[in-house]
């Protein structure tokens, strides 16, 4: 399955947003979704910090698709310059067409630790349990979400919105997030220890090292460690 690479899982969700205006607010549903997501940027930290095993994720609104097209420059167009008898319709048919989406889509793309089997159900259940209220606020403006009542119905709704990944590339690593955060904490602390303890007597260095190990507890994932989404040291 191409959604999985090692233990990492690539979740791609496109949820169609209702067309029309929010009752009493004079704002389109898609713009309401946009406002909500923008408001998450003003919180002390993202609600996604509470969703277990999330490496990186993003939200955006897909308003439309794009087709870049130049005004002409095809073979027939050249002929048309020379032979004005070539009807304009023929020239236009050769140029790329312009698609327009009829719905706008809430796009949610997440990279998370899913284990070798890619436990997407477990991840989505964890997401519902952690930030259920935020999910209801956001997805509440999407088609089909009125069927969602609990974690199980949320999982089945999200699977209807899921698109299979064609190619997933993992450039970092695919360990569980708590293991990655602990490793980052250790790297930071050990680099500082190495700098602070240069040129010491062997016995003093050994004693300092033992105190350091007791403090950082390298095999204890629960702490001390970095918090998910931590942006200050």
């Amino acid at each position: 399955m191409t959604n999985i690479s090692g233990n990492a899982y690539a979740l791609t969700i496109l949820s169609p947003i209702r067309t029309g205006v929010v009752k009493g607010e004079e704002i389109e549903y898609a713009d309401k979704v946009r406002d909500l997501l923008e408001s998450w940027n003003l919180l002390p930290n993202s609600p996604m910090t509470q969703v277990p095993q999330t490496y990186l994720c993003r939200f955006f609104v897909l308003d439309d698709v794009y087709t870049e097209s130049l005004p002409g420059a095809s073979v027939m167009d050249t002929f048309a310059d020379v032979l004005p008898v070539v009807p304009d319709g023929v020239r236009r048919r050769i140029l790329p067409k312009e698609d327009r989406l009829k719905s706008r889509y809430l796009v949610f793309s997440s990279n998370f630790y899913g284990g070798p089997q890619g436990d997407v159900d477990g991840y989505l259940r964890g997401m519902w349990n952690a930030i259920g209220e935020h999910i209801k606020d956001l997805w509440g403006y999407c088609y089909g979400f009125d069927q969602v009542r609990d974690a199980a119905t949320f999982v089945s709704y999200m699977k209807k919105c899921q698109l299979p990944v064609t190619l997933f590339f993992v450039g970092a690593n695919d360990e569980p997030l708590p293991a990655q955060l602990k490793a980052l904490y250790l790297k930071q602390e050990f680099a500082r220890f190495a700098v602070a303890n240069q040129g010491l007597e062997a016995a003093v260095l050994r004693a300092n090292y033992q105190a350091f190990i007791a403090r950082v507890a390298p095999t204890n994932l629960s702490g001390p460690t970095w918090e998910p989404g931590q942006y200050r040291l």
Binding site: N45, L56, R58, Y66, K97, D99, L163, L167, K187, P218
Partner: protein, 226 residues
């Protein structure tokens, strides 16, 4: 808009593909998946955390309710999502310089793809087709992709070293300790916040500064009045 979270940048690009050429594109991705050596170029771009390509058929946009209008599209669409370190220019240019042929292989079936060389038309193509992220979350905003990889190496080496830390004399300990440091010299290093770690962090700090300035102005007024 928030394309940045800590040291990571989120890129979203959507490009049209002619439906009768989608299978060619899919075969190329399938081959890349089956022959990991074809992704060697991507691996050398160690600034990438995660990247993915998703091809949506013209009839595959999710349709969830009878009242939702059905899409009527002429083309299939390729979505590209990337999480990388550094600036937009650094990333796009590093693709052009490191793996131009690999890049062309993935995108050459897309309408109006200008090829990755020369740079300016390629920049324009990506800019035209890029969509801004509204909310971007990074589990480790202080770390780059290389930090995440080197942190695993540091942790493993430290845990292995600690197994023997109590053995032998102090002189033997320091010898092993120096060997440990030599082995990790490419992996150690401090991590610090970048000027804008995330839009959330930036906004919170901006607000805090604003409140602090309001408070000091108020205090100054009161002192003046008294």
């Amino acid at each position: 808009m928030s394309n940045i979270a800590g040291k990571a940048y989120a890129m979203n690009v959507i490009t049209p593909v002619r439906p009768y050429l989608v299978w060619v594109n899919k075969v190329i991705f399938w081959a890349a998946l089956k022959l990991p050596s074809t992704l060697k170029g991507l691996i050398t771009l160690s600034l990438i955390h995660y990247a993915r390509w998703v091809i949506i058929g013209k009839n595959q946009f999710p349709h969830l309710a009878p009242e939702q209008p059905k899409e009527d599209l002429s083309y299939c669409y390729m979505l590209f999502f990337s999480n990388f370190n550094g600036s937009w220019d650094q990333y796009v240019d590093s693709f052009t310089f490191a793996i131009p042929s690999g890049l062309d292989m993935f995108w050459k079936w897309n309408i109006r793809y200008p090829k990755s060389v020369a740079l300016t038309p390629f920049h324009k193509y990506i800019q035209y087709n890029q969509i801004e992220t509204l909310h971007y979350y990074n589990g480790y905003p202080l770390a780059t992709s290389n930090d995440v990889k080197s942190a695993s190496a540091v942790r493993d080496a430290l845990i292995a070293f600690d197994q023997t830390a109590d053995q032998g004399t102090d002189a033997e300990f320091i010898k092993r300790y120096h060997t440990l440091l030599r082995g990790l010299q490419h992996d150690l290093g401090d991590m610090y916040p970048t000027p804008i770690v995330s839009m959330a962090a930036y906004q919170v700090e901006k607000r805090t500064r604003w409140h602090a300035s309001q408070l000091s102005a108020l205090t100054a007024d009161r002192v003046q009045q008294s």
